[in-house]
Symmetry: C2
Subunit: 254 residues, 2 copies
């Protein structure tokens, strides 16, 4: 969705290292925003984005208009049904993933990539897209790349620009809480509910943090688990003022 940061650039650089031609899509997609969300105010700067994308190795920057992507009368949706789109961000944003899968399907049809690079910060999005590609037999490999963080640990996000100084300071608690949970997991804590409680307790020490969810699910199926047997996603969504931030960590048994 543009307003590029180091997280996006890491995807472009990796794509360039592994492919001949890199196409970057830069499109603030209206169908993945719900009513009252920040579609209008989402930061945009295509000149800056183009310069950064090309600097990182992009051969093409594709920034269609909303009218090109959704011409008058458009009413076709691609939807991944099931728990995978209903939990986590799907719970508070019920049409979000339908908008994501619809636009990514369009972008794949237009660009026809062999590989497509997504950030692990949007871990649920990546899981949903991997399922979409598998279910619809699209000839695209989805490659999920690590979260890029600020020096203090805050996950890079275009929405970080919304934060006040004090919110920005407190927001670091997300990555700190997840790190502590990951350490606790390494030390043998496999109980999903206890890990969730641990993370939430840490986040709640910050007065500006309003938790949307703190959840531990099996990964990448996003199925419920009491005891983590193999691989799980610990994910959080927390509001600071009007700004909703997400972060996550993969918990994996060695």
């Amino acid at each position: 969705m543009g307003f590029l940061h180091e997280g996006h650039l890491s995807l472009i650089k990796r794509a360039k290292a592994e492919n001949d031609v890199v196409v970057v899509s830069d499109f603030v997609n209206p169908t993945q925003f719900g009513p009252g969300e920040d579609f209008e105010t989402y930061p945009r700067n295509i000149e800056r984005d183009t310069e950064m994308a090309v600097g990182a190795g992009a051969d093409v920057v594709f920034y269609p208009s909303v009218e090109e992507m959704y011409p008058t009368g458009s009413s076709t949706f691609v939807e991944v049904e099931g728990e995978i789109t209903r939990v986590l961000c799907g719970a508070s944003r019920p049409t979000h993933f339908r908008g994501v899968t619809t636009v990514v399907n369009m972008l794949f049809n237009i660009v026809q990539p062999d590989k497509s690079y997504f950030g692990q910060k949007d871990a649920q999005q990546a899981a949903v897209l991997i399922k979409m590609v598998r279910d619809t037999h699209m000839p695209v490999d989805i490659i999920v790349c690590p979260i890029v963080r600020e020096d203090d640990g805050l996950a890079m996000s275009s929405r970080n620009t919304y934060l006040s100084d004090e919110e920005r300071k407190q927001a670091v608690v997300l990555s700190q809480a997840l790190k502590i949970a990951a350490d606790s997991f390494k030390n043998g804590d496999r109980n999903a509910r206890e890990l969730e409680k641990h993370i939430a307790d840490i986040i709640n020490t910050k007065p500006l943090a309003q938790i949307d969810y703190v959840s531990v699910y099996e990964y990448p199926s996003l199925e419920q688990a009491e005891i983590i047997s193999e691989k799980a996603l610990a994910a959080v969504a927390v509001k600071f003022g009007k700004t909703r931030l997400i972060d996550n960590v993969i918990l994996e048994v060695d």
Copy 2:
């Protein structure tokens, strides 16, 4: 969906005349059948189909299994929303077109055709697929080919094999009624409701015919119209015993 007849072969022949390589898909798609419909009993004969398809010019006959197309856990659907999928066959078969668009999207992803040939007998299906391809920006041309009929006018259909001798005899009324309506349209009758009534009255002269719908809609938008200004679809669905037959004619102002 296989069990090929002259209608299918006309698509294959035209495709071969206009392209280098022709791929025929032959797949009885479960997701386009509703509960209690004829998925299990739908006629299948892949050996006969393959011979006929190759004879007509097919280079590849693609007949996947249900498990290949819909592996365990599949839950992604492509859906064209709006009146176009709610009227006509969409009214009595509410999940039918969702199944059609989902499987055709898969087939397009797998085969990646430049052009795809569909029969005008399934006029609504063709309109829905044209809209799907446009809305999702798939690089495929949908080409709609004329209805092929038996000598007495009955539109070719794999389901014709279900008809008893007496049903088969009476079923000819569909094409007769549509022909009379088309003549009446040519003579200046532009009133959609009157044309519908005219067609229904003729069909109702046959005791075994149970009308599902007789409808005249603008084409290809499938929007309601009282008076036809330009181009319309006169379409019928009629049951003879358990067999549901469809037929249609395009009404066009010269």
